[in-house]
Symmetry: C2
Subunit: 208 residues, 2 copies
DNA sequence: ACCTGAACACCGTTCAAGT
DNA sequence: ACCTGAACACCGTTCAAGT
């Protein structure tokens, strides 16, 4: 029974990340973390200061782990879509951690790596200056916003509105296909592709 | 000094809402709420069960208060944009409460009132069936997602990337206007209008 | 330099007891 | 039917004391 290896700041953050990934953010208490690490609660404070700093480090680590982008596709439109898809997939890989990044106000920091790739593509599509910047930001808002809404749906109590609730007075009651499509659960993957494609098409098309 | 008026469930929820609106979600503890109400902590439990149920009621109330929509504008495109703008404004009116709705997984419930209005408009634009349903959902995801990202930016430590960070190797270093536009803080209002307009244009245009 | 237990203030919740 | 205080388990944090 040898003594425990000396605690490090990196180990604390790594084990905290595991705890959140597996059991959600509410499972990350200083006491549970200490138990997981096999140390006294107060040891953690020496390495990370306090709980706030620990969460900062955790969220920083998550953002840094997002990584860079290698767009695929023949046209700028396709390559922007590929960046969007990759970003969505990476964000969805660790939903609890991404939720924490968002709750701690660092959503925008998640933009950075994708931003570099998108700048290149809108430039290739012929956009310049302010208009290019707006296109990049519109796509980023779109992708990250979509993932936030989508993730939410997944952990929701999954109550879809009954068909009758969908219609105001004098609305298209006759469109049964539409009614059933809206009453059924949405297919987020499809919404994502449809809407990113639609947005990119409008943004990158030369104004006529 | 007459005795306190008898406590009601509605009063508990209302005061809880005020507490959250003014001081944020973390200010809503059972003990602080009791102090605000002028009762013993344990009285609250008789009326609302426990903290979870209280939050459910609070979030339900917030969603119900969103209200209906009266689209304005000459074309379906304009009226969809007006619904999007109104929804954004209402969501932004009580950021703390909306954040709670989101954290508790009821984001989708916020869709309902706007959904009725949007169904009418995409129908007027000539869309039917599945394609209409996809358009409605794409716009809702877009608007709500945007508001979530936007709100996040506002309470963030406001650290914008320095210009150099924006560029990968071999990227358009020569576009100074783009560089400066991306280094400056984003104008969310503008991004919102630009991207909703672009999305709606693509979705409602007849396929050619 | 690193770790520890005791102690403090705060939290949600239960329960027996009051009216 | 409604309200109360005492008590319990859990939390983040500080601090004096150890090595």
């Amino acid at each position: 029974m040898t003594a425990r290896a000396p605690l490090t700041r990196e180990e604390v953050v790594a084990v905290a990340a595991d705890l959140v990934k597996q059991h959600g953010p509410q499972a990350l208490t200083m006491r549970k973390l200490a138990a997981e690490l096999g140390t006294a609660v107060t040891s953690i404070y020496w390495h990370v200061g306090n709980r706030e700093s620990l969460l900062d480090a955790l969220v920083e680590r998550t953002v840094a782990d997002l990584g860079g982008f290698r767009p695929r596709g023949a046209t700028p439109q396709d390559r922007v879509l590929s960046v969007a898809r990759t970003l969505r997939r990476r964000l969805r890989a660790h939903p609890h951690l991404i939720a924490m990044v968002h709750e701690r106000g660092l959503t925008e920091r998640m933009f950075l790596p994708a931003q570099q790739a998108l700048v290149h593509e809108v430039h290739a599509a012929g956009l310049r200056g302010t208009r290019a910047a707006e296109a990049v930001r519109a796509v980023l808002f779109q992708v990250v916003g979509h993932v936030l809404v989508e993730r939410n749906r997944e952990r929701a109590p999954a109550q879809h509105p009954r068909e009758e609730e969908l219609w105001g007075a004098g609305t298209a009651e006759e469109d049964r296909v539409l009614a059933r499509a809206l009453a059924a659960p949405a297919d987020p993957e499809r919404i994502f592709t449809t809407s990113v494609r639609a947005l990119v098409k409008s943004l990158l098309d030369p104004p006529t």
